[in-house]
C-alpha cells in the first residue's frame, strides 16, 4: 500500500529554475558591497575636509562616480546601438545591452542630479540654478528617459531595436556638451578637478583615493546591474515571443476548424 508520504517522496522534484544570477554575478555582487562599504568608510570617515568646500566635499565621492558611470552607460548604449544597426546579423543581444545600459545610466544620472542639488544647497545656498552644467545635465537625463519611453512603445523586437538604436546614437552626442559646458559658458559649477584641461589633478592624495574607491565601487555595481538587466530582458523577450507564437497557433487552429 502506498501512503501519501511515499507518493510525495517518489515523485520527481520539480527542477529549480534559475533567475539571472550565476556564481560569477554573486562574487561580483559581494565585491560591489565590499567596495561600497569602503566608499562609505573613506567618503564619510577617513577623507579629510576640503580647504574651500569643507565637509561638502564628501558628497562628491558619490556625485562624481555616478555621473562618470552614467556617461559610460550611455556610451555603451550608443556603441551597442551602432553594433545593432551596422552589423549584418542585427543581433537583438546588442539591443538588450543598449537598453539595460541606458536604464542604469538614467538611474545614475538621477542620483547625480539629486546629490548635486544637495551639494549645491551647502555650497551655493540653493538647490538649483539654471546654470549651463545643471541645465544640460537635466536635458541629458530627460533625453534618456525619452529613450526608455520609446523602447516601450510596442511593436516587434526588431522595430523596438531599430528605433531605439537611432535615438541611442543621437542622444550620446549630448555628453560632450554636458561635460564641456563649464568651459564653453560661464558657469557656477566648478571645472574638473581630475583630468582637467590643463592636464593636472587638483586634489589631495587621500581625497583622490576616496574618489577612486567610489569609481571602482560604482563600476562594479554597473557591471553587476548590466548583467542582471540584460538577462532579464532576454527572458522577457523570450516570453513575449512564446506568447506571440501561441496566439498565432491558436489563430491557425481556429482558421482550420472554420
Amino acid at each position: 500500500m502506498t501512503t501519501t508520504s511515499d507518493t510525495l517522496t517518489d515523485a520527481p522534484a520539480p527542477a529549480r529554475r534559475r533567475g539571472t544570477g550565476t556564481p560569477a554575478t554573486r562574487a561580483l555582487g559581494i565585491a560591489t558591497i565590499v567596495a561600497m562599504g569602503w566608499l562609505v568608510a573613506f567618503g564619510l570617515g577617513f577623507s579629510p575636509a576640503d580647504r574651500d568646500q569643507e565637509e561638502a566635499v564628501r558628497i562628491l565621492y558619490v556625485h562624481v562616480p555616478t555621473v562618470w558611470l552614467a556617461y559610460l552607460a550611455f556610451v555603451v548604449a550608443a556603441l551597442c546601438s551602432g553594433l545593432y544597426l551596422f552589423t549584418k546579423k542585427h543581433s537583438l543581444g546588442f539591443d538588450r545591452v543598449a537598453g539595460a545600459s541606458a536604464e542604469i545610466g538614467v538611474v545614475f544620472m538621477a542620483l547625480t542630479l539629486v546629490s548635486g542639488m544637495l551639494w549645491g544647497r551647502i555650497t551655493w545656498g540653493v538647490f538649483w540654478q539654471w546654470d549651463a552644467r545643471l541645465t544640460t545635465t537635466a536635458f541629458l537625463f530627460v533625453t534618456y528617459v525619452g529613450y526608455l519611453a520609446v523602447r516601450n512603445l510596442g511593436g516587434s523586437h526588431r522595430q523596438r531595436a531599430r528605433r531605439s538604436a537611432v535615438i541611442g546614437l543621437l542622444a550620446v552626442v549630448e555628453i560632450p556638451l554636458v561635460h564641456f559646458s563649464v568651459e564653453m559658458w560661464r558657469s557656477l559649477h566648478q571645472e574638473a578637478s581630475v583630468a582637467n584641461p590643463t592636464g593636472g589633478t587638483k586634489m589631495d592624495g587621500l581625497m583622490l583615493f576616496s574618489l577612486f574607491v567610489g569609481v571602482v565601487a560604482f563600476t562594479l555595481l554597473y557591471v553587476w546591474l548590466l548583467l542582471h538587466r540584460t538577462r532579464g530582458m532576454a527572458m522577457q523577450d523570450l516570453i513575449e515571443d512564446r506568447g506571440l507564437d501561441s496566439a498565432l497557433a491558436d489563430r491557425r487552429s481556429e482558421g482550420a476548424m472554420s
Binding site: R17, A49, A56, L118, L238, I239
Partner: protein
Amino acid sequence: MSALIDNAGYIYGAYAITFAVVGSFAWRAIRHGHRLGEEIDDADKYWT
C-alpha cells in the same frame, strides 16, 4: 567639525538616497529576474 554637524543632513542624505535608490533598483532587478526565470527552462538561458 561644526561644518559637518551643520550640513550633516545634506551629506548623509546624499549617501542615504544614493544607496537606497541603487539598492531598490538592484532588488527589483533580482526579483524581476527570479519571476521571469520561473517561466523559462534553464536550457533556454544562455548564462546557465
